[in-house]
Symmetry: C2
Subunit: 112 residues, 2 copies
DNA sequence: TCGCTATAGGTAGCAATCCTACATATAGGA
DNA sequence: TCCTATATGTAGGATTGCTACCTATAGCGA
């Protein structure tokens, strides 16, 4: 998976990973990796700053805890985050449709 | 259309616009706009540097001409460019599938 | 003639984003 | 004791698309 491909689409993925309940950063990273057959395996230097950004923007809310002697920061979606996730899904649909139209080679070949 | 969404996907679009024959930069910009219902309306400050990048990379080849008193730089795909376009389509397919899987909300709702 | 728009090309510098590389710390197995 | 997995974090770099600006011609309307 080319690195630049993800640019601008990461926030939605992180929000989606938090949709089914609060998670800490490392778990989000693993959830995304497992959901995509390992194709999206984000480095921690991507995940943590991105989560900080989302928290800064008020889309998620974090809280510290200690589990098994390790400190954890658990994040959960805010109402704003839920709306943002819905928007991200809409935007993705539109973007994917437009890209497929402009890139050509059939609208939705889905050869995999 | 969110601006950052395009990042990393522009090159493929430009190559696709040149697939059916040589075009000059301004025509590429218009072709992309028309093919997407105006949803991808690139500023010239995006198109020209991107074409320069593609030429630098050997994916397209440009040549000057004068039409109607205006100088034009006409670009055409190289063999390398054709291969790159095919690769871009494959990558897009994979990326779209992975994104849809991770973003959730159904695999291909295509509500538009 | 003057001004505006469309066509056609271009650059400089900014902002955003993701990555690499590194640092810290605990738990547990070899 | 060392290594790996878990868990979080930062600094700095590279890439990329955009904003804002510049130059120039053709053609139309006032």
């Amino acid at each position: 998976m080319r690195a630049e491909a993800l640019k601008g689409h990461l926030d939605g993925l992180l929000l989606a990973a938090l949709e089914d309940g609060p998670q800490h950063g490392y778990a989000v990273k693993e959830a995304l990796r497992d959901a995509t057959d390992g194709k999206i395996d984000l480095p921690t230097g991507t995940v943590y700053p991105a989560l900080h950004r989302l928290e800064q923007a008020g889309l998620i809310k974090g809280s510290w805890s200690v589990v098994g002697g390790r400190r954890r920061r658990t994040y959960e979606l805010t109402e704003k985050g839920r709306r943002s996730l819905a928007g991200a899904r809409d935007h993705w649909q539109e973007f994917a449709a437009v890209m497929s139209a402009a890139l050509g080679g059939g609208p939705w070949p889905v050869t995999n």
